[in-house]
Symmetry: C2
Subunit: 157 residues, 2 copies
Amino acid sequence: MPDDTLLHFEDMPPGTVFPLGPKHVTADEIIAFAMEYDAQPMHLDAEAGKQSILGGLAASGWHSCSMMMRMMAKSYLLRAAAEGAPGVDFVKWKKPVLAGDVLSGETRVLDGRASQSRPGIGILHLRHELRNQAGETVLESENPVMVRLRNPESADI
Amino acid sequence: MPDDTLLHFEDMPPGTVFPLGPKHVTADEIIAFAMEYDAQPMHLDAEAGKQSILGGLAASGWHSCSMMMRMMAKSYLLRAAAEGAPGVDFVKWKKPVLAGDVLSGETRVLDGRASQSRPGIGILHLRHELRNQAGETVLESENPVMVRLRNPESADI
């Protein structure tokens, strides 16, 4: 049975902004992710990080994306009629995410349209941005997300 | 001291192909990643997955990217003079990655150039593709990766 309390496509018009974070990034979780998925020295060891371009113990870029996903889930996706995403338009890792950083930012709905191929589904084009405690942008990304329509028969989609 | 045994920029010319995988994807690791980073029902529960567009217990797209990163590390990055990546050009999650899938594929070097802003660094443009045991492409991505030059003074870069 459809859950009317969930955010549907129509509840997230262009211009809608959802806050992300704050998220405190610890050395332990940077190292844990790296040991599992990205065991390059600058993600495992503070000294190796200092000697690298990144300048310190730095999160794997995919870890930063995964932390962003957790912030998105907490902020809006877990209370939305979301059906996943077909991909990511781009990710820019603009600055290293270092142990001790506190990340926050927002997702902005850029536009939305009904899916051509999937009845009852709308596609939202989202822009995500994360900044560190100094206000420096560390991550920018955009991607399409599938969300169920509240009124699939509505003519104004 | 530089490690001459590492793969440097000059050792990875356009056309170079590195194999990825095979990687057997288990339900346990799909759920573990989801609980940490992407707790949407289709990534946590087989029944919810079946009722979703994804058709079964499906890995978070970011989990698929992270698994690909692990395959890349194992195949070539951990033996390369790699200095991280500025971002990702795109990711296409073309098919769901389901519990029990076996993923394999390859990274292909599309082109390379010396960094304009970072002396001693070359930038390789890489294309990654993962397929499941049925030969269906599940993930496509391209991104630039920074790798140290073996001969920074070489005129033919």
